[in-house]
C-alpha cells in the first residue's frame, strides 16, 4: 500500500497521508473507522484556528498600515505575540450575561456557529488525496452548512433580549439570506463545467495543464465573472466590510453579539473568521484550482502549500478591501444583491452553458467574454438610470 520508492517531491506532497497511514497501522482493526476519522479531523482543528490567530494579527497590522499607522507592535517583536495576548484576555474576562437573556439559547448560539463553521471544512480538498470527507454532493453540503450559520446568528441576536442585538440579527439574517442565492448560483458554474458536485473531482478537473498554463476555471470568462461574484457574495456572507453593517462598531455597537463578553465573544470572532476561511477555501476549490500549482513547472511544490498560499492571498485581498471601501448602507446592500448580483449570476450561468456548447477554440472565448461584458455594462447603465445604484457622492468638510 505504501510505496517508498517514489520521488522525494511526491513524498513531501503526500507526507500527511503517509503519516496517517503509518499511524493507522498501530490501531486495532475494530477501531479503524473511528481512528481514521479522528486523524483526519485533528489537523483541521489545529491548523485553522492557528491561521485564525495569525490572521487577526495580520489584519490589524495590515489595516494599520493602510490607515497610515502601525498596527499592534508592543507585545513581542513586531507585535507577533499579540494573538496570544488576545487569547489570554478573552479567556480571563468576566462572562457577563444579561438577566433578561435566555440563558440556554445565549450559550448555544456561539457553539452552534463554531460547530457549523468547522463542519464546512469537511469537504475542502486541502491537498492531493487530503480531504476529510469525499462526499459525492460536497458543494451542496457546504452551502447547507451556511444555512446553519444564519440560525446561529439569529439565536445570538434574539437571546440577548436587547433592541440593538435583535435589530442587528434581523439585518444580518436578511443580508445573509439575500446573498446566499448569488453565492450558490455563482458557484454553480464550476459545478456545471465539471459535471459533478464533488469537490475532489472539481479540483481534479482543474489540475491539468495545457503547455504551462493550468485549466483553472478563473481563467475563463465565465469563471472570472463567477469568481468575482462569488467573492463579493462571500464577503457579504461573512459579514465582512464593506458589508458589515450588522456588526459595524460605529453603527449599531457590534450588532448581534453586543451582549457577549469574554470567551463567547472570542468564539463568535473565531466562528466568523473560520467562515471566511471556509468560503475562501471553497472559492479556491471551485475557481482557483484547489491544490494545483499555477504553472506546470511548479508542481514539485507540495499541494497543501499551494492551497495555503492561495488562502493567504485571498485573505490579504479581504483585508485590503476592508481597509479601503466604505461600508454599504442596508438598502444599498439589498439592492445590490437582488438587482445586480442575481441577474449577473444568472447571465453567468447562461454564458457557462454556451461555453460548453461551443467548439473549443478562440471563438468561445470571445463570445462568452463579449456576452458577459455587454450584460454587465447594460445592467449597470440600466440600474444607474433607474437610480438603484448611484455613483458615490463625496462631501468634504469646507
Amino acid at each position: 500500500m505504501i510505496v517508498f520508492s517514489t520521488t522525494s517531491a511526491e513524498r513531501a506532497d503526500q507526507i500527511f497521508v503517509l503519516i496517517k497511514h503509518w499511524l493507522m497501522g498501530y490501531v486495532p482493526a475494530a477501531a479503524q473507522p473511528l481512528a481514521s476519522a479522528v486523524l483526519s479531523v485533528t489537523p483541521i482543528l489545529l491548523v485553522f484556528p492557528a491561521i485564525f490567530a495569525v490572521t487577526t494579527l495580520l489584519e490589524r497590522k495590515g489595516l494599520g498600515r493602510i490607515q497610515n499607522r502601525y498596527g499592534p507592535n508592543r507585545v513581542g517583536p513586531w507585535g507577533l505575540l499579540q494573538p496570544m495576548a488576545d487569547g489570554l484576555k478573552s479567556l480571563t474576562k468576566e462572562d457577563i450575561v444579561p438577566t433578561s437573556a435566555d440563558h440556554w439559547v445565549h450559550l448555544c448560539a456561539p457553539l452552534l456557529l463554531v460547530i457549523a463553521s468547522f463542519l464546512a471544512y469537511a469537504v475542502l480538498p486541502i491537498g492531493r488525496n487530503m480531504v476529510v470527507a469525499n462526499l459525492s454532493a460536497g458543494v451542496l453540503f457546504f452551502f447547507a452548512i451556511g444555512a446553519l450559520v444564519e440560525v446561529a446568528i439569529f439565536m445570538a441576536g434574539w437571546s440577548s433580549r436587547s433592541k440593538y442585538s435583535l435589530l442587528g440579527a434581523m439585518r444580518a439574517i436578511a443580508q445573509m439570506v439575500s446573498y446566499e442565492t448569488p453565492l450558490v448560483l455563482a458557484g454553480l458554474v464550476a459545478v456545471m463545467a465539471t459535471g459533478s458536485l464533488s469537490t475532489v473531482s472539481i479540483v481534479e478537473a482543474q489540475a491539468q495543464y495545457s503547455g504551462i498554463l493550468p485549466h483553472w476555471f478563473v481563467f475563463t470568462p465565465w469563471g472570472f465573472a463567477g469568481f468575482i461574484l462569488f467573492m463579493i457574495a462571500a464577503t457579504a456572507e461573512s459579514n465582512r466590510s464593506p458589508f458589515d453593517l450588522p456588526e459595524g462598531e460605529s453603527e449599531i455597537i457590534a450588532g448581534y453579539y453586543i451582549e457577549y463578553s469574554g470567551f463567547k465573544f472570542a468564539l463568535f470572532f473565531l466562528g466568523e473568521y473560520l467562515g471566511m476561511f471556509a468560503t475562501s477555501g471553497m472559492a479556491i476549490t471551485l475557481f482557483l484550482g484547489g491544490w494545483s500549482a499555477p504553472f506546470s513547472f511548479l508542481t514539485w511544490v507540495p499541494s497543501y502549500l499551494w492551497f495555503f498560499i492561495k488562502l493567504l492571498g485571498i485573505t490579504c485581498v479581504f483585508i485590503w478591501v476592508r481597509g479601503t471601501l466604505p461600508r454599504l448602507r442596508m438598502d444599498q446592500l439589498m439592492h445590490f444583491a437582488w438587482r445586480f448580483m442575481l441577474p449577473m449570476t444568472l447571465l453567468n450561468i447562461v454564458a457557462a452553458a454556451a461555453w460548453k456548447f461551443f467548439p473549443a477554440g478562440i471563438i468561445r472565448w470571445v463570445a462568452c467574454a463579449l456576452f458577459l461584458a455587454v450584460a454587465f455594462v447594460l445592467l449597470t447603465r440600466g440600474l444607474k438610470r433607474r437610480g438603484e445604484i448611484q455613483a458615490r457622492q463625496y462631501r468634504f468638510a469646507e
Binding site: 439559547v105 454532493a137 447547507a144 451556511g146 434574539w158
Partner: protein
C-alpha cells in the same frame, strides 16, 4: 410543540430538521438530506423566525399557549397514532425488507429530473414562481396607505 416561547419552538424545530437530515443520510439519500438542511433550515426556519419577530404583539406571554379545545386536539392525535401504529404492527410481516444500500450518485438524480420527471420539475418551477409572487404581493400591502385611503 408544548413550549411556551415560540422561538424555543423554532429552535426545537431546527433540531428536529437536523435529526431528520441525519436519518436521511443514514438511509442513503445524501442529496435529500443535504437539500433538507439547505431548504428547511436555511429557508423555512428563517421564514418562521422572521414571522415571529415581526408579529410579536407584546413581550410578556400573557395569553395561554394552548387553545380552549386542546384536549380534543391531543385526543385526535393519539387516536391517529394508535390507528397508524396498529396498521404498521399488523402489516410488519408483509413489509418488504431489503438490506443492500442503493448507491446513489447525484448524477442519477439529475438525469431522472430531466428525463423522467421533467414535467413535475417544470410544474414545480411554476408553482414556486407563483408562490413567490403571491407571498410578495401579500406581504407588501401597505396598511398606512389603507388608512390614508379611508380618510
Amino acid at each position: 410543540m408544548s413550549l411556551r416561547n415560540p422561538v424555543h419552538c423554532v429552535v426545537g424545530l431546527t433540531v428536529g430538521f437536523l435529526g431528520l437530515a441525519a436519518l436521511y443520510l443514514q438511509l442513503g439519500a445524501q442529496f435529500v438530506g443535504l437539500t433538507q438542511v439547505l431548504v428547511y433550515i436555511g429557508a423555512v426556519a428563517i421564514l418562521i423566525i422572521f414571522a415571529i419577530m415581526m408579529t410579536r404583539s407584546s413581550e410578556s406571554a400573557e395569553q395561554q399557549t394552548f387553545s380552549r379545545s386542546w384536549v380534543a386536539g391531543v385526543v385526535i392525535a393519539v387516536a391517529v397514532f394508535a390507528v397508524l401504529g396498529w396498521a404498521i404492527h399488523f402489516g410488519a410481516q408483509t413489509l418488504p425488507t431489503q438490506t443492500a444500500t442503493p448507491d446513489l450518485p447525484v448524477q442519477q438524480i439529475g438525469d431522472a429530473l430531466l428525463h423522467r420527471f421533467v414535467l413535475p420539475l417544470e410544474i414545480i418551477a411554476l408553482l414556486l414562481t407563483a408562490a413567490l409572487i403571491g407571498a410578495g404581493v401579500l406581504a407588501l400591502q401597505d396598511p398606512a396607505g389603507e388608512k390614508r385611503g379611508q380618510q
